[in-house]
Symmetry: D2
C-alpha cells in the first residue's frame, strides 16, 4: 500500500475520525462515561482507545522525538495488548471519570494534528509505506469501535428504567417481510478469504480452498414474527431443541426471550431500540440473539445455520455486497423475493463455524499481532454486517466473531439446509 496522495489520506483519516465524534454527539458527557458490563466499554473509552491506537502504533513508531500526550494514557487506554505493557482492568473502564471528556477530545485533536503532520511529509519511502499500512489498520480499527459504540451505548441505556432514547426519532413500521425462499447453491471446491487489492484483516488471509457440499440458504433473515412463533411454541422450555451448553445457559439465567424484548401486562411485545422503547415489529429482522438461540431456532425450524464457507460462497455467487446502513441504527430488511437479500447492512449472521485460523494464517509482527489471532478459541464466526457497521467497512470475506452467548450485538439468523 502506498501513501501517494497526502490530501486523499488526510481526508480519509479525518472522515473516519469525525464520524466517531458524530456518533457521540447525541450523548452527554455523563452518558459517555458509564460501562454497563465488562464486555462493553464507555463511549469515552472508545474515543480515547482508538486515539491511543494511532498514538502507540504510529506516532510512537514514526514520529521524530515522540512524546506521549499523557504518560499514564498508555496504561489507561490499552485494551488487550500485552506486548505494550500494563492495562487498566477492563471491568473498571467505567470508573475513569478522569480524564474528563474535554481532555479526551483534546487528546484526539492533538493526535489528529500530529498524524496529519506525518501524512503531510518528512518520512522516507519506507516510512510512508509503513505509515500507509498502519493508517488503514487504525481506521479500520476505529470503524470496528464505531459499531461497538452503538451496541455498547444501547446496552447501557437499556439498563435504565427511563428507557432513554439515543436518537429521538420515530421508527416506522417495516414493509411486510413475506415468505422466505430457499435458494440453492452448488458445491465443490471453492475459495475462501480475501482476494482484493484493498485492505483486509489478517484473519481473512490467506485465501484458500475449501470443499463445500451443495446447500440452500434462506433468501432473507429470520423475522421477529417468526421468532415469536418459536417462543409461543415453547421454544425456551424444550431442552430437546438446544445445545447442551445452551440449555444450561437458558436455565441458569432464566431466559425466555431475546435481549431487548419486553412484554407488558396485557401481553403486548415491545423492543428497546436506540430510538427508545418501540412496539415489536414482526416484519423486521430478529436481532440481539445468541448463537445458542440461533441454533435452537434453526433446529425448531427444521434447518441449520450455515458454515462460514457456505455463507461466503453464496455471497460471492450471488454478488451480494454491502450497501449503505439504514437511516436509523436498527435492522430493516427488504421484502423477500427470490434473490438473496440482506446479507449485509442489517444483522450479523451467526455461522456454525468456530473462529479458527485459515490454513497458513500468520499474524503481524509485534504487539499488533495480538489483534486477531489470540482470540481464535471458543468463539463463533458471524458474517455480513449490521445496521451499526459504518459504511465502507464490510466485505464478503469479513470475519466477525463472538462467544456463543453474546447477545448485545446486532446478531440475527440466516437459515441454511
Amino acid at each position: 500500500m502506498q501513501l501517494n496522495d497526502p490530501a486523499v489520506w488526510t481526508a480519509r483519516y479525518r472522515a473516519v475520525r469525525e464520524h466517531s465524534l458524530a456518533l457521540a454527539a447525541p450523548l452527554s458527557d455523563e452518558d459517555c462515561g458509564a460501562q454497563s458490563m465488562p464486555d462493553a466499554s464507555p463511549i469515552k473509552w472508545h474515543l480515547a482507545h482508538t486515539t491511543w491506537f494511532f498514538e502507540t502504533f504510529i506516532l510512537e513508531a514514526l514520529e521524530p522525538g515522540f512524546q506521549p500526550f499523557h504518560p499514564e494514557f498508555r496504561v489507561l487506554f490499552n485494551s488487550y495488548y500485552n506486548g505494550v505493557g500494563q492495562k487498566h482492568p477492563r471491568p473498571q473502564r467505567g470508573l475513569l471519570t478522569r480524564p474528563p471528556m474535554a481532555q479526551v477530545r483534546a487528546y484526539r485533536a492533538d493526535v489528529d494534528a500530529r498524524i496529519a503532520a506525518l501524512i503531510g511529509g518528512g518520512l522516507d519511502a519506507a516510512g510512508r509505506s509503513r505509515l500507509a499500512g498502519l493508517l488503514v489498520l487504525g481506521l479500520q480499527h476505529e470503524q470496528q469501535h464505531q459499531e461497538l459504540m452503538l451496541t455498547d451505548v444501547k446496552h447501557l441505556l437499556a439498563q435504565n428504567g427511563l428507557y432513554p432514547e439515543y436518537l429521538a426519532q420515530p421508527l416506522p413500521a417495516a414493509a411486510p417481510a413475506g415468505k422466505a425462499a430457499w435458494l440453492a447453491f452448488d458445491g465443490g471446491v471453492t475459495e475462501v478469504g480475501y482476494d482484493g487489492d484493498g485492505f483486509c484483516f489478517d484473519n481473512e488471509l490467506p485465501r484458500h480452498r475449501q470443499f463445500v457440499e451443495p446447500f440452500e440458504l434462506a433468501s432473507r433473515l429470520v423475522t421477529n414474527g417468526e421468532y415469536l412463533a418459536f417462543i409461543d411454541a415453547g421454544g425456551y422450555r424444550d431442552a430437546g431443541l438446544w445445545l447442551a451448553e445452551g440449555w444450561d445457559w437458558v436455565c441458569a439465567q432464566g431466559l425466555d426471550k431475546p435481549l431487548y424484548w419486553h412484554q407488558d401486562d396485557e401481553g403486548r411485545w415491545c423492543e428497546f431500540t436506540l430510538m427508545g422503547l418501540q412496539p415489536l415489529d414482526p416484519d423486521r429482522p430478529l436481532a440481539h440473539i445468541s448463537l445458542f438461540e440461533a441454533d435452537a431456532y434453526a433446529h425448531w425450524a427444521g434447518a441449520r445455520l450455515p458454515t462460514e464457507a457456505e455463507w461466503e460462497h453464496a455471497a460471492r455467487q450471488s454478488g451480494a455486497a454491502p450497501g449503505a446502513p439504514p437511516a436509523l441504527p436498527h435492522p430493516g430488511g427488504a421484502s423477500a423475493t427470490g434473490t438473496l437479500r440482506d446479507m449485509f447492512d442489517h444483522c450479523w449472521q451467526w455461522t456454525s463455524s468456530s473462529y479458527a485460523p485459515y490454513p497458513g494464517f500468520r499474524p503481524a509482527e509485534g504487539a499488533i499481532g495480538e489483534y486477531n489471532g489470540k482470540f481464535m478459541v471458543n468463539q463463533y464466526v458471524l458474517r455480513g454486517s449490521s445496521c451499526a457497521t459504518p459504511a465502507g467497512h464490510a466485505r464478503a470475506s469479513y470475519r466477525n466473531f463472538f462467544p456463543a452467548g453474546a447477545r448485545w450485538q446486532f446478531t440475527g439468523i440466516r437459515l441454511a439446509r
Copy 2:
C-alpha cells in the same frame, strides 16, 4: 418535637441541603455518575436519593395534591425500602446516566421549594408535629449520606491510575503522636443509649442498663506508624493473630496492607487521600481498616477492642464530645496526653460488639421502620465519628455499623484491655 419557628427550621433545612451541594462542588458531572463497587453509590445518586427521602416520606404524606417530580424516580432512587416498592438494582446505580446532573439539581430545587412551603404554613398542629419529626430525620439521613459521599468518591478516585485529587490542597505533616497512655475506668451498672431531648436514631433507644467490668482505654487512636510495625513484624502472615474468618479473608484477597496504602519500588510508603497521593504520615491515626485487621492488630499488641458499652461509658465519664471535623477530610488527631483524645472527628472506632437491638428496641411504623432494624445481623458497631462526619451529626450514643470486612470508611482502632 415541635415546629415552632418556621424561619429556624427553614434555615436549618437549607444549611444541610446546601452542604451536600458544596461537597459535590469540586467534582465534575462525570465524577458524580460513577460507582466503584456495589457498596458505594455515585454522588449523583446520593444527591437524588436524599431528595427522594424528603419527597417520599414528607411531601407524599403531607403535601396536599401531591404529584411526584418524576414518577420513575420513586424506583430509581429508592435505596432499600421494600415497603415503598420496587428498587433500581443497587450495583447498577452507576449506569443511571439519566437523569443528568442538571435534572437532579432541578429535582433538589423543586423538592426544597415544596418543603419550604410546607414549613411555611398550612398544616395543622398534628401535621406540623409530624413534619418536624420527619424533617429532622430527613436531615440526619442526608448528613449520613454526606459522609458516604466523601468515602465513596475517595474509593472511586482511588481506582484511577491518575490518582486524582478531590481537593487540590497540601496535607501538612502531623505533630508527633507521642506514646499512648492507658486510662482506667470503673465498672458497674452503667446506662447505655440516648437520653437527651434532641434527635437520636431508633437504634440508640431505649436507654438501658448494662453491667461493665473495670477496663482501660488507650488515650489515643493507633497511628500509621504503629500499624507499620505490625506489618513489618509479619502481622499479615501470622494466622495465629487473626480470627478464622479474617484469615480466610486475608488469604483469599492476598492482602498485606490497609486499603489505600502503596509502597513504591524503593519501599517508601504513601497513602491515597482525598488530597491525592501523599507520603504516609506515621503520626496520623490509622484509617481504612477492617474489623478483622483491627482485631488482629489488637491481638498482636496484647490488647483488645472495646465493647460499645465500654466506649460509651468512657466517653460520658470523660466528657468527650464531638468538635469540628478537621479542615481537610483526613484524620488528624491530637498529640497524646494523659486524657482521652480523638474519641470523635478523626476515625470511627471498631468495637467488638455486634450490631443488635437494645432491649425493648422498637422500629418506627411503616416503611421508615426499615431504616435501622433490619440490618442488625452480621455487622459490627463503630463508635465516635470521623473527619468525614458533618459537624453536629455525632454524639456519644451514636451507633455506626459495618460488616467486619468493610474498609472504605474512615475506620480506625482504639485499644482496650
Copy 3:
C-alpha cells in the same frame, strides 16, 4: 483436675470412644466416606480426626518416644489448627477413600491402647494433671463430633433420592403440644458463665455479671404446626418480616420451607428424618431452621429471640437441666404446661446474641487455643442441647454457635418477649 483413679478414667475414655463407633454401626463403609457439603464431614473423617486430636495433643506431648501412627495423618486429619501445620482442604474430605475404614479403625485401636497405657501409669504428677485436662477436653471434643456425625450423615442421606434410613425404626406420632405459656423472669444483675467444678470450654469463662431486663420466655419450643401457619400466612414472601441479609438469603436460594421438609403433589407435608421420610408431625418441635428463619418467625409471632444471658438466667432460675436424649435421634418435646420445658435434649435454640468472648476471656496456650476463640465473629449463639447431643455433654452455660444461615443442625425456636 486430677487423674486419681486410672480405672475410672479408662472406663470414661472407653465409653465415649465406643459411642462414636456405635453411631457409625448402622452405616456401611461407603456411607462413612462421603461429604455432602464443605460444612459437613464424612463419618470416617470424624472417627479419624477425633483420634488425631488425642494423638496430636496427648500422645505427641506426653508419650515417651512418640512415633505417629502414620506421618501423613497429621495433615489429613487436622481440622483447623494452623499451629499444627498443613491441613487437607476441608471441602475435599470426602475424597479420602484412603485410608480405608479398616485402617481408621486400626488407628483408633492403636491410639486407644496408647492412651490407656498413659493413663495406666508412668507419668509424674504434673504429667498426670496435664493428661487429665487434655483427656477431658479430648472426650468433650469427641462428643461434639458425635453430634456432628448424626447431623452430617442426615444431610448426606437427604441428598439421595432413595431417602435412605439411618435407623430403620418407626417414628411414632407425638402427643399434642398444647398451647405455649409465657413465663416471666425477673431482671437485674445476673451471673453468666460456668461456675461448677467439672469441665467447661474456655468460651464459657470467666463467669461474669450481666444486667438483664425483666423478660418472658415461651414455655416450650415452636412446633412444626405453628411454623406451618407462618408458611401458610406467606412468611417466606413478606420482606417486612426478615432481616435484610436474611431476605437476600431467602431470595438468592429460592427458599420457602425448612431444610428437610417436602410437600407432595397433593400438598401433604413430610419431613426427612434419620428414620427416613416421615409425615410431618405438627406437634413435634420445629428443627433445621436458620437464625434468619427463627428471627422472621419471631417477628411474625409478635415476639423475639432471647439473648444468651436471658436464656441462661431462665435455665438456672427454673432449674432446667439436660436429661437423656430421646430414644430416636429426632426432636420430641413434652406437652406444654406452665413450666419451662424442653430447654435441653430436643433442639438447640437460637439466641439473638452474637458469639463473642466473655469479659476477660483467655484462650489456652498453643495450638489448642484455636479451639474456640478464633471463631468469635459473624456467628450466633445457640443454647440448650439437641436430640443428637450425647448424654452428659450439655449444661446451662454451654455455648454452641453457627452462622446465621446454618440449617443442618437440630436448631429450633424458643420465643422471648
Copy 4:
C-alpha cells in the same frame, strides 16, 4: 447389522461387561464411591450408568413385560438424557452411598441375565435387528466409560496426600525418544468420516469430502522432556505464546505445569500415575495437558496443532491403526523413526478443530439422539486413542472431544506445520 449368532453376541457382550468389573477390581468399595470434581464420576456410578443404558434403551424397549430393577435408578443413573426424564444432579454423584456396591453388582448381573435372554431368542427379525444395533451402541458406550473409569479414578487418587496406587506395579523407564522427524503429506480433496461396515458413532458420519493443503506432521508425540524445556524457557509466564482465553485461564488458576506434575524441594520432577508417584520420565509422551497448553507449546515450538482432517488424512495414508494399549495404563510411545508413530494407544491428540457436525449429520431418533449432537459447541476434537482406551474401541475416524481447559484425560500433543 444383524444378530445372527447369539453365542457370538453373548460372548462379546460378556467380555465388555466383565472388563468393567475387572477395571474396578483393584479398588475398594470406598474408592468406588467418591467423585473428585463435577466432570468426573464415581466408579460405582459408571458401573451403574452403563447398566442403566442397557436397561433403559434395550430392556425397556424390547423386553416383554419389562419391570425396572429399581424404579428410582432411572433418575439416579441417567447421565444427561433429558428425553428420559429427571436426573440426579451431576456434581452430587459422589453422595450416592446407596445403592451400595453390592447392589450395583446385583443390578449388573440382573440386567446381564435379561440381556442374555433377549439375545438368546424370542424377538422377531425386526426386533433382533434393533437389538443388534442397540447392543453395539451400548457396548461402545460402556467402553467409553471404561476409559473414564481410569481417568476419573486417577484424578480422585491424585487429591489424596497419600498418593495411593491404583496398580502396585513399577513403571519402568522408557527407551530414549530420539528426535522427532517431520513427515510430509499431500494436500487435495480428501475424504473424512467412517466408511467401514462395522460400528461407528453418529458424529463420524456422513463421510464427506474436505480440501486439505499440503502439511507435515511430527513423527511422534511431544515428550515430557520437551515440555520441560518449554517450562524452563518461561512458557507459563509469556502471555505472547497463549490464546487470550488460555492466558486468562493460566493466570486465574496460577498454573505453571501439567496436571499431575510435582516438583520437590530439590527441584526434582515427578508425576502422579496410576502406579503412584513416579519420577518424571523425559522420554515418555507428555499427557494431561489442556488445549490451551498444547497450543502455547506448539506456538513456542514454531509449529501448530493439526486439524482433524489432516490427522485423519495422515492416519489413513500411513496406515496407522490402533494396536493394544500398553501393559500398564500410562503412555509409553515408541522410539522415533522416520515413520508416523503413536497415532493410537498412548495419548489422545488435540486438534485445532472445534467439535462440529459433519455436513449432513443426523442424530438418532429419540432420547438416544442426545448422545453426541448436543455437545457440538465450545469443545475441541481429539484424535487417536490413549493408554486407557479399551482394545478394539478406536479407529482413524473416531472423534473424541473435550473443552479447551480439560486436563484429566490422557491428552498430549502431535505437532503439525
